[in-house]
């Protein structure tokens, strides 16, 4: 394993760390590099050992009571210190609300490039690391690579599969690092009510748009979703403007990958469609036969969602018996 070729992953989010280890392992194997995880935390030795099972050859563990929770300046200074000392070639950072600014500041401190929110990531035939991200409001997919090293990439949640844990050996390197006095302070944290089920994991999604007239009509979607063992989603206006839902599907919302996505009363504007690129089968139900959603659907029904949804539910029930 040659010097300066390491692939690193870091996230303060546990699931995302594992997902990036899966992708990181693939990249490291392709370029013949070592895969390392960075753990910054308090009482985190068990977690560090656990990461070896998920593919890390090495875990840099910075364990100190002061790192008990995410602190932007402290984490940045530790991560920067490690990168300067051990010179990884690639650093994957979880694209959370805290992780992305961390990646941006790290890349700036190092005077290097950063490719954010890669929904796909791989090594091309020339051996370059190429990240794919949606840009121009969903109108385009950009494939980007780096002219500088280390290559800093941010990875959104659920973009990559979590690997299966295996019995393997790896090394945990304990480091005693401290951080400078911070100029920011978290004065309060309140838990956020989030649905326990994640829409990214749904195998079937019945999604509605502004074609839904009343909040109560959601029951039509719930009932079909129940038959499909799936979940309900929506377009942005239903969440942001009407506040009937708290989350939405699309470019600025969740990027989903179900086997089946049923879009009802959704026009199919590019910003919405950007979130369903990875759906296996897309069904569109819309009363306007010119609606752009039909261009990006496998099966299209021109009709009223209030008639089609109950009928589809019955038909599925009957045929599935």
């Amino acid at each position: 394993m040659s010097e300066g070729k390491g692939v690193w992953v870091f996230s303060e989010n546990a699931d995302l760390t594992l997902e990036m280890l899966g992708k990181g392992r693939e990249i490291a194997d392709k370029v013949g590099a070592e895969l390392a995880a960075v753990v910054i935390g308090s009482n985190a030795a068990d977690w560090a050992n656990e990461l070896v099972k998920y593919g890390a050859d090495k875990v840099y563990l910075v364990d100190n009571a002061m790192f008990g929770r995410f602190q932007a300046e402290a984490y940045l200074s530790v991560l920067h210190n490690l990168v300067v000392n051990y010179k990884p070639e690639t650093v994957l950072i979880g694209s959370t609300k805290n992780g992305k600014p961390l990646a941006a500041r790290l890349a700036t401190r190092l005077e290097v490039g950063c490719v954010p929110d890669c929904s796909r990531l791989g090594v091309d035939e020339k051996g370059r690391l190429v990240g794919e991200r949606i840009t121009y409001g969903g109108n385009a997919v950009a494939k980007l690579t780096f002219k500088t090293k280390p290559q800093i990439v941010t990875v959104p949640s659920r973009a990559f599969e979590k690997p299966q844990p295996k019995k393997r050996s790896g090394q945990v390197v304990k480091l005693d690092l401290k951080a400078e006095q911070a100029k920011t302070e978290v004065v309060e944290t309140k838990p956020l009510e989030t649905s326990s089920v994640r829409i990214e994991e749904a195998e079937a999604i019945v999604s509605c748009g502004r074609g839904l007239e009343k909040k109560e009509d959601r029951v039509l979607l719930d009932e079909l979703a129940a038959v499909l063992c799936g979940q309900v989603g929506c377009s942005r206006p239903l969440a942001e403007d009407r506040k009937w839902f708290s989350e939405w599907v699309g470019l600025s919302g969740h990027k989903v990958k179900p086997k089946l996505y049923i879009a009802c009363g959704i026009s199919g504007v590019i910003q919405h469609v950007a979130g369903i690129r990875d759906a296996k089968v897309v069904v569109a139900i819309n009363k306007d036969e010119q609606a752009p959603i039909f261009e990006v659907a496998d099966y299209g029904v021109v009709g009223n969602l209030y008639e089609i949804l109950p009928a589809l539910k019955e038909a599925l029930k009957k045929q599935l018996q």
């Binding site: 949606i134 385009a140 956020l192 089946l260 659907a297 599935l320």
Partner: protein, 262 residues
């Protein structure tokens, strides 16, 4: 607090972008431009702070490779006191780091400040990196993705929504804050405000006016391609005499596809 800087991008209006169907290339050159949505929220927030705190000046800073006067006039009409623009053809291919270097130098040249406000992301490139990069170059503490903001003494307090919590963060001034669209509803300037704004000053600089190290502007990223996504969908229309018939056909197709659990 005396002075707030707002970083404003003139962005491609992504809702009006056209794609060449043959090549899947975007036709960006002729696409209309507008003030990037999130930056408009940042500007609105700055103007509200000014309204609450007498004597505060709001200054905008823009980096553009092309004319951006319309956007700057709009900013002045919304309540900014002065607009600075770094306009230089040499900025055409700069990436997020280059943009941040130019913004940081322009902010320094524009004078003292207490607060820098940016949108969380830009409407067109949507990278969400530039604000934090500017914060780093100016060594400022930062609050990112703020959906509420207030100034308390020598600190700024922001509320931000994380994946599983809502956090209130306090940062000592001078600081940098990036805002989300939820933070406010930007005002639409009245005719009066537009007229008043025509007397306000727009200061135009080129790269030569700034202490930017040209070497630092070279892009760190190589664009392999930027293409409209391919849509490989079947586009089958399901028709029938009755709703029941359509539903039956659709159900059958979905079961055949193997996307419905038995």
């Amino acid at each position: 607090m005396k002075r707030i800087i707002v970083c404003l991008k003139q962005a491609v209006d992504v809702t009006q972008l056209k794609v060449d169907p043959a090549t899947r290339q975007l036709i960006t050159a002729s696409a209309p431009r507008k003030m990037s949505d999130f930056d408009k929220n940042a500007l609105e927030e700055a103007v509200r702070l000014k309204e609450k705190n007498a004597g505060v000046e709001v200054v905008t800073v823009t980096v553009a490779s092309e004319e951006a006067k319309t956007v700057l006039r709009e900013a002045l009409a919304m309540g900014a006191d002065k607009a600075y623009v770094v306009n230089d053809a040499g900025l055409k291919d700069v990436d997020t780091l280059g943009t941040a270097h130019v913004l940081a130098e322009a902010i320094k040249k524009a004078g003292e400040f207490d607060l820098v406000l940016c949108g969380e992301s830009s409407l067109d490139s949507f990278s969400g990196l530039v604000g934090s990069r500017v914060g780093e170059l100016l060594s400022l503490p930062q609050v990112t993705s703020a959906r509420k903001l207030s100034v308390e003494g020598d600190a700024v307090v922001g509320e931000r929504t994380l994946e599983d919590s809502i956090e209130t963060v306090k940062a000592k001034l001078p600081a940098l804050v990036t805002v989300t669209r939820e933070i406010n509803q930007p005002r639409i300037p009245s005719l009066m405000m537009i007229m008043k704004a025509s007397k306000k000053e727009i200061v135009t600089w080129t790269l030569a006016d700034l202490a930017v190290d040209k070497a630092k502007l070279a892009s760190k990223i190589e664009v392999v391609e930027v293409l409209a996504p391919k849509t490989e969908r079947k586009r089958i229309r399901i028709t029938g005499e009755s709703v029941a018939e359509i539903a039956d056909k659709l159900a059958k197709a979905l079961i055949q596809e193997g996307v419905v659990k038995r």
